[in-house]
């Protein structure tokens, strides 16, 4: 993935492209806006015609047809990204009145107003002389009759999906005001086989399920992978040689290394927000404590000191505070303490038990797993414990992970396993922070322990 050349990106100057003086001036501040803090919004109708090939063939035989195919695929991926958010509704292409999708002239807005398209995406794909793929697009406010975004992106044709995700990200950002999360990956545990001897492998895929591949071979049990916020690295738990330890996996090289030389089991790893440290638990003589390891100096620091179970640490985006799971008060609850030391303060006070706290990349919320009355839930609360909301419930839901924009969570859901040996297969789901738009994430096999990557660079 990162072996491919980077996508270069240029904001198109409106003046330059319309230097011929088309008689239209940008209006006042755009009205087109989706408020994503409300859950049950009416999805915004958007038209995304296939991106056309506007001439470039790279001098290659078949270049035009190739560009046309890529243009169609790119528009399809953009549309799927936006529709999955629940915030957009893609207008069926056979409803289009016109396909006047030139980048060089203003669209005939009336034709798009008639089918009630509020937003229109017009794009083109071109194969350049060196074989590069150049994609240009404009996002139009149909009723406001003005351009909201214009971008040109260049990369190798093999990267066309990333281009599509970047375009979807910029459309999402312009219309919602929030950063997108489409140009991201998900690492998770792919599972199969009987429950007693489940085979588990690390797998990675684009956030939409494309480019799926396995990272480990299934010989050793693997659990709880997490993405580095800054590098192409994953930290996870592996039972290599029957010794459960925290490992580091380099996605580019495929190299795996055990982290540290601990006398007991290490588990529940998570990167610090700056990517320089891994915090994790180490269990020895029946006591689990939280440690931090500096990935450059390999120095280890102990962060908790209590005979209770202390696990599942997660740092705030500023790295100054840590939320973790402990049963020091008698049952599993969430605690916050300063990374530098000091006393732990309990923040979860609702009914039931709380686990797997994960600090949002925005810092405003902590996601968690909750267990109460025989049911599991995925919820969020503010770092002081106030404002608790449960977003999803089920027989077993666990392991929330944040999209990098802090607006969407992914987790896994598993049903009750009955005597008839049905059920029990875990699957990945995403849900909006509002509690709406829960969607299954398609995976080749059963799937658990998802971890969302940061936005690619």
């Amino acid at each position: 993935m990162s072996a491919s050349p980077p996508v270069t990106c240029a904001v198109m100057a409106v003046a330059a492209l319309f230097a011929s003086g088309l008689a239209w001036t940008p209006g006042a501040e755009a009205q087109l806006k989706v408020d994503i803090t409300r859950g049950n919004v009416e999805p915004l109708p958007i038209a995304i015609p296939f991106f056309s090939n506007f001439g470039g063939t790279g001098g290659v035989v078949g270049g035009a047809g190739r560009a046309e195919n890529l243009g169609r695929d790119i528009a399809t991926v953009i549309s799927a990204d936006l529709v999955r958010t629940g915030l957009f509704r893609a207008i069926e292409r056979n409803a289009y009145i016109s396909e006047d999708v030139s980048l060089r002239v203003q669209p005939k807005f009336a034709n798009w107003r008639l089918i009630n398209a509020q937003a229109l995406v017009v794009g083109g794909a071109e194969i350049m002389q060196k074989g590069d793929l150049k994609v240009t697009f404009r996002l139009w406010d149909v009723f406001g009759q003005q351009q909201l975004v214009g971008l040109r992106l260049t990369t190798s044709p093999g990267n066309w999906r990333q281009i599509a995700h970047r375009i979807a990200d910029s459309i999402y950002k312009r219309i919602t005001g929030e950063d997108g999360y489409f140009d991201t990956s998900v690492v998770y545990v792919s599972e199969y086989g009987p429950a007693r001897r489940r085979i588990k492998r690390l797998a990675i895929m684009d956030q939409d399920g494309a480019n799926h591949r396995f990272l480990t071979d299934g010989k050793a049990l693997v659990l709880t992978p997490r993405f580095s916020p800054t590098a192409q690295e994953i930290t996870y738990l592996s039972y290599v040689a029957g010794r459960p330890r925290v490992y580091l996996y380099n996605i580019d090289t495929g190299q795996q290394e055990v982290l540290g030389d601990f006398p007991g089991m290490t588990f529940s790893p998570r990167f610090s927000p700056d990517g320089n440290k891994v915090v994790m638990s180490m269990a020895q003589e029946g006591n689990s404590e939280i440690y931090s390891m500096d990935l450059r100096t390999r120095q280890v620091r102990r962060l908790t000191q209590h005979p209770a179970i202390d696990t599942s640490p997660s740092l705030a985006p500023d790295g100054r505070r840590m939320v973790f799971n402990s049963d020091r008060g008698g049952s599993q609850q969430l605690y916050v303490k300063n990374f530098s030391g000091g006393k732990a303060k309990r923040i979860s006070f609702g009914s039931g038990r709380y686990a797997t706290p994960v600090w949002s990349p925005r810092g405003d919320l902590i996601a968690f797993t909750k267990i109460m009355s025989g049911e599991f839930g995925i919820g969020v609360m503010r770092p002081d414990g106030s404002g608790e909301r449960v977003l999803a419930t089920g027989f077993l839901v666990e392991g929330p992970t944040w999209a990098p924009n802090g607006r969407v969570l992914m987790f896994f859901r598993q049903s009750r396993r009955t005597a008839g040996k049905t059920g029990g297969e875990p699957k990945l789901f995403s849900i909006d922070l509002t509690g709406y738009n829960e969607r299954i994430i398609a995976t080749p096999r059963d799937a658990s322990d998802p971890a969302w990557s940061p936005l690619k660079r």
Partner: protein, 182 residues
């Protein structure tokens, strides 16, 4: 070569035993691949011997059948019940009878907890078993522990009785195919 053959015979024996007795679970990950390989090539040639051999003293079956290789725990608990202590006392007598070789104690949980917490809880349970055996005079250096959390249920169903049997600490001979000697 002779050693290899013996290992195969014993591995086949263990496989046969697994058919009739509850799976210990703890052995699954560490040595599962080796067991599968050995079983595939040896099962037909050793079946008659393992059946006629019966339970060999000092073997994993001896521990499982005649002593009791596991203790059960309450929900989210790691204290040992009277029944569990009784089992461990029998285990300690057995282990003293066969003082050569090491054992591994695996700690397990039911599925009604979160993965990471359950890893810690399984480690607590394995340690509770270990500490009791040490208190009964077993050398700590003979005992290794491992936690599987909720990863290796012995009964995969989602029911109270399955969860009760999955909350366990299992004592096993450290290397598959081996038996303790006196």
């Amino acid at each position: 070569m002779r050693f290899q053959l013996a290992a195969l015979v014993l591995a086949g024996f263990v496989l046969a035993a697994c058919e009739t007795t509850p799976d210990g679970g703890g052995s699954a990950s560490g040595t599962g691949a080796a067991t599968a390989n050995a079983g595939g090539s040896a099962s037909s040639s050793v079946s008659s011997q393992s059946l006629s051999g019966g339970v060999q003293p000092g073997s994993p079956e001896d521990l499982a059948v005649n002593v009791g290789d596991r203790v059960l725990f309450g929900f989210d608990r790691f204290d040992l019940s009277a029944e569990a202590r009784d089992t461990l006392e029998k285990q300690s007598v057995w282990l003293k009878r066969y003082p050569n070789g090491t054992i591994v104690i695996s700690g397990h949980t039911d599925e009604r907890g979160t993965r990471e917490y359950n890893l810690a809880l399984g480690e607590r349970r394995a340690t509770a078993v270990k500490n009791y055996l040490v208190a009964l005079g077993i050398e700590p250096s003979r005992i290794n522990t491992i936690s599987y959390g909720k990863e290796r249920p012995v009964d995969p169903q989602s029911s109270e009785s399955a969860w009760a049997s999955n909350r366990r600490g299992v004592t096993q001979i450290d290397s598959m195919g081996a038996k303790l000697s006196n």
